[in-house]
């Protein structure tokens, strides 16, 4: 909780990450609007556009997740403390999850206004569940990738190059799970198969991240 509270406080002081993520997502929706040359979209296309936009916006947060630790000695200070190193994984993943939730609180209604044909009202609960599972995958994999990338010289490049391929299965599952929710006269509940895939992916990467994170902080 201590590290998470510090991360949220730093973001509130600087507004470096979340506003950039939100702005990026809205600009991307506008670009899709003109690029697709369609007034509205729905179904699989809507699921894909929403998921890809959130994924790319999330990468902005992933790239900045450990920057303060690296540039201002936060890693050393944390490693000097008698605390379990996985506390940093949990705190950073929780912070990124929180950033994604704030992003979606703005970006999803903006998507509904700018691009989506059907109303967001009926499928909202199902969509929240799908996005919450997607956010867990983004937060866990993003934290892992960010911890690897931050110690490299080309961290802005390394993050997406490693992170995006790892997130492809989560992207597919999220887009497929969201598609029927965003269809005209679509279902109110996401398809169980894709929700299960997403949940399993979350679980596997959460365990993997827990197992390897200590080694990433090692000298």
């Amino acid at each position: 909780m201590t590290v998470l509270r510090k991360d949220l406080l730093l973001e509130l002081r600087t507004f470096e990450t979340v506003p950039a993520m939100i702005l990026f997502s809205i600009v991307t929706f506008v670009i899709f609007h003109f690029g697709l040359n369609q007034a509205t979209i729905d179904g699989q296309l809507a699921g894909g556009v929403l998921t890809v936009t959130l994924l790319f916006a999330a990468m902005l947060g992933v790239n900045r997740l450990f920057v303060a630790e690296r540039e201002q000695g936060g890693f050393d200070a944390f490693l000097l403390a008698p605390v379990d190193r996985s506390a940093m994984l949990i705190a950073k993943a929780s912070a990124l999850f929180a950033f994604l939730v704030v992003l979606e609180v703005v970006a999803v209604p903006a998507f509904g206004l700018l691009l989506l044909g059907p109303s967001l009202g009926p499928p909202l609960l199902g969509l929240i569940a799908v996005l919450a599972l997607a956010d867990v995958a983004l937060a866990v994999i993003g934290t892992l990738v960010s911890a690897i990338a931050v110690n490299t010289r080309a961290r802005d490049l390394v993050g997406p190059v490693i992170g995006l391929p790892l997130l492809i299965p989560a992207l597919i599952a999220t887009a497929r799970a969201a598609a029927p929710l965003l269809a005209v006269h679509g279902s109110g509940a996401p398809p169980g198969k894709w929700v299960a895939v997403l949940a399993l992916y979350d679980l596997v990467f959460a365990l993997l991240a827990y197992a390897v994170f200590d080694f990433l902080l090692e000298d």
Partner: protein, 228 residues
């Protein structure tokens, strides 16, 4: 002074890729004693401090801190050591108070101790200012507070009085000086000041030990050669 060694190094070696930063460093420091580590820029002083602080692993040799072998028992000694490094290890966008409370929580220390320390270094008035707005001397005073929050038994001090004016130096003296009773390892570019407060001197030249012994045995010629 307790004669049980607080620090014991035997043949400590550390590489960075092809470059050897430390080779064959052996020294034994009694509990409560002060070791001054001297040497030119790049001699290996900061690398030695980072190994003692458990932030770097030794590549060869044996390291024991407060009776615990490193790196195997690093977790056990972290609560007992305080590092004052080149960097203050403070977040620039948080205030001094927020930074110190963050570190206090990591070490399981209460806010009362933070208040005491801020008072002792005369930083109460500026405690709510973001660190980025403070002068280097003020930041160094906060860094001293951070390093000693948990009353460590071993103080690792890399240029501890850098950026401090004489008045500020006096303020931090009770926190990092000999009077603390802690075992201290001090590096400094001002050899006379470091030697003056040392019980033992380790001179490093290109990562190798060039002198190990009491300060009175270090003559002016040897001192000059360390910095040549």
């Amino acid at each position: 002074m307790d004669q049980r060694p607080a620090i014991e190094l035997r043949g400590l070696t550390r590489h960075f890729g092809e470059r050897t930063a430390l080779r064959g460093v052996s020294v034994r420091v009694a509990a409560g004693a002060t070791l001054a580590v001297l040497g030119h820029n790049g001699a290996g002083k900061s690398t030695l401090l980072r190994i003692l602080a458990t932030l770097l692993r030794p590549h060869a040799g044996e390291v024991s801190i407060l009776g615990e072998p490193l790196p195997r028992r690093g977790f056990a000694v972290r609560a007992k050591l305080g590092l004052l490094a080149h960097e203050p290890l403070l977040y620039r966008d948080l205030s001094g108070w927020e930074n110190l409370v963050y570190h206090a929580r990591l070490h399981g220390v209460g806010e009362r101790r933070v208040e005491e320390l801020l008072e002792s270094v005369d930083m109460r008035r500026r405690a709510e200012d973001p660190v980025r707005l403070l002068s280097r001397g003020m930041v160094q005073r906060l860094a001293v507070c951070r390093a000693v929050l948990h009353k460590p038994a071993l103080l690792l001090l890399d240029e501890p009085r850098a950026s401090l004016d004489p008045a500020a130096s006096e303020l931090v003296e009770p926190l990092i000086g000999r009077g603390t009773g802690a075992t201290r390892v001090i590096t400094s570019h001002d050899p006379s000041a470091a030697v003056a407060e040392a019980d033992l001197v380790l001179g490093l030249k290109d990562g190798r030990p060039a002198f190990v012994g009491p300060p009175e045995k270090l003559d002016a010629r040897e001192l000059r050669e360390l910095y040549a």
